[in-house]
């Protein structure tokens, strides 16, 4: 088994990995940039090493410093988390060449599945349909036009070298193609140093459905079921659930079977996710494979009872998976809301600042994974994810109601977050019915951000009263001015003082 694990990441995922280390009795080494000295992953780790200044390229993407941190602390394995270097074949190779254990699939798998064109080719080979469009990257406008005409407009131009919405353009009519093609190529070039793009058909009412797979080094590959991730903004997931409220049981089985085949074909090791698009008629198409632990893995843990990170550490040490396909009997329904430092009511504008107050929800069926603490400064240097709130229920309505309750309990004061927006989604009739596709947010945005009757009237008045009492205590009214000290204690009482005096 691993003797000491270095976690080459930060925030909630570093905390997540440390938790499994504790439970397996493996000492955990945190790395941190100068901006993260007092972040929770540093406080929770057994050891902590500074790897550079705040910008990611100088710290969390700094391969030299990370390998040196592993050497100086005597760590014998590295967990990359998600993002940063997690899907970087070069880094994985350096880790292995240094004689350390790499938590994840091998560099060859990372390379093969990181290339969208190669991945699509592999999917086709094992019999998984891909979205109609160009199999090979298109290099000139004429080829792009030809493919677009074949599959029919609207089409999507996508970068071959990466994701996250960069180098991506929807083209509705043929006239728009030339400009969109050029802009997508130039964006792809600057974002991924790779200007290859391809052209895909845009599907009707598309759902984003993904299969969690797990493979060990003894040839066993298991599917842990699907996650529906269609609630997205800017092509980024914000709410996920399992099981999908949309796909038919036979589609679920087919997607699982294909995912296991794909994982086997690319000699997969550890946790991975195969992503599919499913259209309104339940036709499905392979999209890509994520060769790492996924942000939304906790909902799979909630229904299967498995600790995926612990399992990653075991299979990386050469152990067999602790379960086989028959052991996977998902129970109930689980939802995840991502807590971003973004104002969901203001076009998801990022928000920074000090976390003045943090109060975590808990109780039956609630799980919060986060990487913040009261007093922490949220800086602009990194991904805005603060944490993930998950809820489990015996039925889907129970899980949804529980999520609403948990979102209401979660208090993060000082930074704007996506908590209120997620609450609006949970309360939306289309979401409650499980009837949504990837256009959900854009379809319903005005309703989602609108004020309810109660919010404008009853709660509006409470807010005014709160402000007025607060103001009266701070800025004494005419009659109070003679003794502003006693005025304060009249208008606002201090909870603590009050109890002490009793």
């Amino acid at each position: 088994m691993i003797k000491k694990l270095l976690i080459a990441n930060r925030g909630e995922i570093a905390v997540r990995v440390i938790r499994s280390c504790r439970e397996l009795d493996i000492p955990a080494v945190a790395v941190y940039s100068e901006a993260d000295r007092s972040a929770p992953h540093v406080l929770m780790a057994d050891e902590a090493i500074c790897i550079g200044p705040p910008p990611s390229v100088e710290s969390y993407l700094n391969v030299t410093n990370i390998l040196e941190a592993a050497r100086s602390t005597g760590a014998d394995a590295i967990h990359p988390g998600y993002g940063f270097l997690s899907e970087n074949a070069g880094f994985a190779r350096s880790v292995l060449n240094t004689g350390l254990t790499w938590i994840g699939p091998g560099p060859e798998t990372l390379e093969q599945m990181g290339d969208k064109v190669a991945a699509r080719r592999l999917a086709l080979e094992v019999g998984a349909p891909v979205v109609p469009g160009s199999i090979e990257p298109v290099t000139d406008l004429a080829a792009a036009e030809k493919t677009a005409t074949e599959v029919g407009y609207p089409v999507l131009i996508k970068a071959a070298g990466g994701g996250g919405g960069k180098g991506m353009r929807v083209v509705t009519v043929a006239d728009e193609l030339p400009t969109a093609f050029e802009r997508a190529r130039s964006e792809a070039a600057s974002a991924f140093a790779d200007d290859r793009v391809y052209v895909e058909k845009v599907l009707g009412q598309p759902h984003h459905v993904e299969i969690q797979i797990f493979a060990d080094s003894h040839g066993r590959v298991v599917s842990l079921g699907e996650r529906e991730c269609s609630i997205q903004r800017r092509y980024q997931k914000i709410i996920e659930e399992t099981p999908s409220p949309f796909i038919a049981p036979e589609v679920r089985e087919q997607l699982s079977a294909l995912s296991v085949k794909i994982a086997a074909a690319c000699h997969y090791l550890s946790a991975g996710t195969v992503e599919f698009l499913v259209d309104g008629d339940q036709n499905y198409y392979f999209l890509e494979m994520n060769t790492r632990l996924q942000v939304e893995h906790p909902i799979t843990e909630l229904v299967t009872g498995l600790d995926l990170v612990a399992e990653q550490l075991r299979v990386a040490s050469g152990e067999s998976l602790s379960f086989d396909q028959d052991d996977i009997q998902p129970r109930g329904y689980a939802l995840e809301c991502r807590i971003y430092a973004e104002d969901g009511f203001e076009s998801f504008a990022p928000s920074t600042g000090n976390v003045l107050e943090l109060s975590a929800p808990s109780g039956m069926g609630v799980r919060l994974d986060h990487g913040i603490r009261q007093g922490l400064e949220i800086t602009p240097y990194y991904d805005p994810i603060l944490g993930k709130l998950c809820a489990w229920g015996r039925t889907r309505p129970e899980a949804v109601r529980r999520m609403v309750r948990a979102l209401e309990e979660l208090r993060i004061i000082g930074v704007r977050t996506t908590v209120p927006f997620c609450m609006a989604v949970m309360n939306h009739p289309a979401f409650m019915e499980g009837n949504y596709c990837t256009s959900f947010i854009s379809d319903y945005l005005p309703e989602l951000v609108s004020w309810s009757e109660e919010e404008t009237n009853h709660l509006g008045e409470a807010a005014v009263l709160g402000a007025a009492l607060f103001a009266a205590a701070r800025r004494p009214t005419t009659s109070d001015r003679t003794d502003s000290r006693s005025a304060k204690s009249d208008w606002v009482r201090l909870g603590r003082e009050r109890q002490v005096s009793q």
Partner: protein, 172 residues
Amino acid sequence: MIFLATVGDRDIRLKMRRENGQPVVEIADHAPQLDLVQLSQSSYSLLVDGRSHHLSVRPSRDGYLVDLRRRTYHVRLRDELDLIIENLGLKDATSDHSGEVTAPIPGLITSVAVAVGAEVDAGEQLLILEAMKMENEIAAPKSGRVAVVHVSPGDAVEKGAPLVELEGCQGL
């Protein structure tokens, strides 16, 4: 003491006074039983006729920001004097009507789309501010001419830092 409170589009009349030494607040002609207790630096418990509200209040430039349930309420409170001044058409000298465009969040300037002297329309992109792995387009709030450009690509800016100054745009 009479206040006019503004929250969203609503104006709410408030009367605050003391009765037998106890504070009494009338809101929309009703005097609810109130109990405000401070819980921490930022948060309060307010009971309004027994209804329980867990809120946070902090002063903002021209009023108060109140976090309550899933919303942030921006509450402006004006007393009789404020209202008289407003009715006379006098303006608060401290309020900001300049054409200064500032950074809404800290971040890194990745590109600047305008130069001094350029005429811009409202909504036109001035520059790109990158923060939290995302590019944020900073657009002109109103039409006008670019008077000063404070930043260049590659600059790191703090929240509130001046970015661009526009001229010829009244009432910005």
